[in-house]
Subunit: 338 residues, 2 copies
DNA sequence: CTGTTAGCGCGTTCAC
DNA sequence: GTGAACGCGCTAACAG
């Protein structure tokens, strides 16, 4: 009973293979009676068409490739979930290319398009160079960027400038004037992460709009980890004139800040306000005020964008910008009066 | 420059397609000079064989399916990471089938094997029924279970009985006699999760071995969520004779217990010891004593088991049992003396 | 409406 | 050693 082919079905139903193919893809009209015959034959043989043969014949792989540094940060899982949901309704499978090194990144960008393994590419956070984008375009590979941006490619962005602004603004509205910012490394992001520069820009802008001078000493950068953030926060908080509030680039880093405050015996939010970014699951548990990104949506919308691009290859690059949401919890409050 | 085929290469090198195929798969001996010709032709044409055509011809899909409720619990991501690592060295791709409902579970179990989409199946935590296992076997589909068990299928298990025992034993060794257990729903696990029953068994066994009577009142079950665990812990802690220590089925639930203690003004670990299970990332941050599972390894070893099973279909089912590790942090201590 | 036939790109017998 | 021809299972013209 292993595997019936379309020919077996055709024979059993007493029709030609093309007819079977027709009822399978209901492309052309088929007379109700023959359709019926074919369908019962299919049922009796427990027939299921071979996707591989179908793909070869169609010249399409019916799968899309998702390239991302998935396992480095919790936020990717949420995005992936959105992708999965959007794709599970379609005929497309997806295969994951996990990137944890620059070498691997380059390999993926170079090999995946030419290997005819996928009909489209979904790239998360990683930003391809102009050269690489040209390569994608020339290969005729539909490509959508999520959480990254390029003018030749459709992309769905989270408005990180606005998010950074929103976080900073919240602190300002509470009355803070001395606002520290602990961010990911701005300069040497080997993968070229957009959000790092964007959130920083939002921070600066909010300061400027409120007439607050930017104090370089209040901006610390370090590897995205709790430990490093804790160290940086410690530096910040032991300054002669320490900030009364700290905005962290990510929730993970915000937790490091919280820890530093705890180490120094500073009460949050009374003596120090802390705001994070991402709204990962634990954030709620720890009552962290943060900025929520709509990660699931970004994945889902990116996948749908790609699907439509595959269906309609000539379309112009589209841009979707997703907003962020301020989630007020218990780690921010007005500063103590002097 | 889109896509050269094997025929183009053959023509350019002035040989037959079979020869090209031979150097591609270095199956049969090819004279060094012709091999050289072919290889330069391949390089000049930037040729890359079509995986799809290859698969059709080979009759193998070169992809394996991974079925799991991935996005429900953080621990699956770690397992998946192990799978990815093991598979990225091989020629196999993998497709994720995410299961969030019982319907979806049944669809996956039924459809995936017959659709000739995959050469092998990796099933995480979900336990197929005997009937379903028969179906897999009859379909000739190599299948490996991770974190689940069946005598007809190879599987890699985490020794949850030992883990439950270990957690409970740790509490006992500290001097506790009144030990509560907050678990996932034991009865109506629609997916048939093994670990639920196993950890419970470990808990009971440790109690018995220490000569402590099992107190049904101390065992509470509820949906695996922080909120529900918090509610259950509250019940436990407001008992006339409350437990001095609580073992939680998962770290997530342990956090709910911690919260309940906080609500009631109970100091941890002085007035209440809490131990979790999983050692998810936040556990370290919150200094939770817990039992670590080797999740990454379970994924990696499962994938390798499957690969070897695909290569050698006649092999007998194998069983791999991975140990657990007690991670002592700051939420457990001896009980207060009366 | 429906059957026949020619590919899709590659592996693989078979003769040479 | 090497090339020609067939087949994997399906779709898409092209005739009827």
């Amino acid at each position: 009973m292993a595997n019936a082919t379309i020919r077996d079905v055709a024979k059993k139903a007493g029709v030609g293979v093309a007819t079977v193919s027709r009822v399978l893809n209901d492309s052309t009209a088929v007379s109700p009676t023959t359709r019926q015959k074919v369908q019962t034959a299919i049922a009796e043989l427990n027939y299921s068409p071979s996707p591989i043969a179908r793909r070869l014949s169609l010249g399409r792989t019916m799968t899309i490739g998702v390239i991302a540094p998935f396992f480095i940060r919790p936020s990717y899982v949420e995005r992936l979930r959105g992708v999965e949901a959007a794709l599970s309704d379609s005929e497309y499978d997806f295969i994951i290319y996990n990137v944890e090194t620059v070498t691997r990144r380059n390999d993926c960008f170079h090999d995946v398009p030419r290997q005819e393994r996928v009909d489209g590419l979904l790239i998360m956070t990683l930003t391809p160079t102009d050269e690489e984008v040209d390569y994608f375009v020339q290969s005729g590979m539909p490509t959508v960027l999520i959480d990254s941006r390029h003018h030749h490619l459709s992309h769905v962005m989270i408005d990180d400038v606005a998010g950074g602004y929103q976080a900073t603004r919240h602190l300002i509205d509470l009355g803070h004037r001395k606002i520290g910012y602990i961010s990911d490394l701005l300069q040497e992001s080997p993968f070229g992460f957009r959000p790092v520069a964007d959130r920083y820009e939002g921070y600066r802008q909010a300061l400027t709009d409120a007439g607050i001078d930017f104090c370089p000493e209040y901006h610390r950068q370090g590897e995205l980890s709790r430990r490093e953030a804790r160290r940086l926060a410690q530096e910040l908080l032991t300054l002669p004139d320490p900030p009364t509030a700290i905005f962290a680039y990510s929730d993970t880093q915000a937790f490091g800040v919280l820890r530093a405050a705890q180490d120094l015996g500073l009460k949050v939010p009374e003596q120090l306000s802390v705001i994070g970014y991402d709204d990962i699951e634990i954030a709620e548990f720890l009552h962290l005020t943060t900025v929520r990104q709509h990660l699931y949506e970004s994945g889902a919308q990116g996948a749908e964008l790609l699907l439509s691009e595959i269906a309609n290859p000539l379309s112009r690059p589209q841009e979707i910008v997703l907003p962020t949401t301020l989630v007020e919890r218990d780690t921010t409050a007005p500063p103590l009066l002097r």
